[in-house]
Amino acid sequence: MSIELVTYPELCHGCGNCVVTCPVNALRSPEVAGGKGPTDEVDLIMEVEDGSIELKRTELCGKCGACARSCPVSAIRLEKLEDAK
């Protein structure tokens, strides 16, 4: 399967919608589920760092696409790697 999480940092506003919408992140951190960036050490699939989205534990990703749907600027997507960028 070659469909993977792909980010476009040049488009990202750092709003954090994806981080908070991600059901895997939400299950791991009630704080994130509630809409706040984690204060404790916790494994998230992606986090906002220095105002832009960074992919972290992508192997946890179940490819549901919730993050992509929540992003207002399509800065995070599920795409076949050959088609990306």
């Binding site: 469909i3 939400a26 589920a33 990703c61 179940g62 549901c64 919730a66």
Partner: protein, 355 residues
């Protein structure tokens, strides 16, 4: 000797073919696929990979499944298990659904025209838009009986009856008064095909210019024929689109629709694991999943409601859930008899759960 070839068209449909002693052709129709993963599960040579359902909710460049040309042997198992008719196999031009040796899933959806009242609830409810109900309504004028007459001498052209008429049956010819014709209307007519003899115009007329009576109210239905109020129509279920989910059977108010499902099973939701991403709800081809709203303010309903009545236990939701919050277990598969031991084993392997 023989070679397997694969082609993919612009609609992301896949065709795999091998010509030897026979010509075998496997056709995949992308639009019917729900990424449930049953084909991937049953394939004896692991030739099929199903793309994540959540990704295919968005338009993708690639097909929803990937069939490896160098692995596929065109055995036909995927075509026989697919509950969505997305995979079809032909041998020398004949569909395996018409070849006795190949197990055919026993599933059906039928509407009895003797019982159906053409209410169209099934058409509205069908999650695949597979049902078309056509109905001929009776003529309104044959369902009512009465008399009405406007005395044009007495009528003062006030237009109150025209405005009030709930059936839009009264029409006035409004006009500008002129010196030679100083009236505001040149004619008033009641369309007897539209009039329902409600008598509102008669009651409202300020000069009692209207005489009217409803015969039904006064004397009963003696001059109405029962057959004139019959509603006739026809029903059509598109077998290619129908997934035998059971919505039509459940929603039909007169039990005219009967559905037989191929898979028996259960679906359970771990409400704690579910984080409400909605992927499963969007993916479910049977509208069997929903996020219920709270009955009262401050109430806490279940996060995800899974209704077995509409579920065909395909497992698409289970596959799509990134938190493994859904468990689909198939306990039975109804099909025509399977003689081949390896095929029996393959069908058995699709039962149980993925966990």
């Amino acid at each position: 000797m023989m070679e397997t070839t694969e082609t993919i068209d612009q609609d992301k449909n896949i065709s795999v073919q091998r010509t030897g002693e026979e010509t075998r052709k496997l056709a995949f129709k992308n639009v019917l696929c729900t990424s449930c993963g049953l084909c991937e599960k049953i394939c004896p040579v692991t030739a099929i990979e199903v793309e994540p359902a959540g990704a295919t909710l968005e338009e993708q460049e690639a097909s929803k499944i990937d069939i490896k040309e160098d692995k596929c042997v065109l055995c036909g198992m995927c075509a026989c298990i697919c509950p969505y008719n997305a995979l079809e196999m032909e041998i020398d031009g004949k569909s395996v659904k018409d070849i006795e040796e190949y197990p055919k899933l026993l599933k059906s959806a039928e509407i009895s025209e003797d019982v159906c009242v053409y209410c169209k609830a099934c058409e509205t409810a069908c999650p695949r838009d597979a049902i078309v109900i056509a109905r001929d309504l009776p003529e309104r004028s044959k369902l009512v009986t009465g008399e009405i007459e406007i005395d044009k001498e007495t009528c003062i052209d006030c237009g109150i009856c025209e405005e009030l008429c709930p059936a839009d049956a009264i029409t006035m010819e409004h006009k500008e008064p002129t010196a030679d014709s100083p009236t505001v209307s040149s004619d008033i007519e009641v369309d007897k095909d539209k009039c329902v003899y409600c008598l509102i115009c008669k009651k409202a007329c300020p000069v009692d210019a209207i005489t009217a009576a409803c015969r039904q109210c006064s004397y009963g239905e003696y001059d109405l024929k029962a057959e004139d109020s019959e509603i006739t129509g026809s029903t059509f279920i598109d077998e290619d689109l129908c997934v035998d989910c059971g919505w039509c059977e459940e929603i039909c108010p007169v039990d005219a629709a009967k559905v037989e499902k191929a898979f028996e099973g259960t679906i359970t939701v771990d409400q704690e694991k579910c984080q409400g991403c909605e992927t499963c709800v969007m993916i479910c081809p049977c509208n069997a999943l929903s996020f219920p709203k709270s009955e009262e303010s401050g109430g806490k309903p279940e996060k995800l409601h899974a209704e077995e009545k509409y579920c065909i236990f395909c497992g698409a939701c289970e596959k799509a859930c990134p938190n493994e919050a859904i468990t689909v277990e198939r306990t039975g598969i109804k099909s025509t008899p399977i003689k081949s031991k390896s095929w029996k084993t393959a069908f058995e392997s699709v039962k149980g759960t993925s966990k």
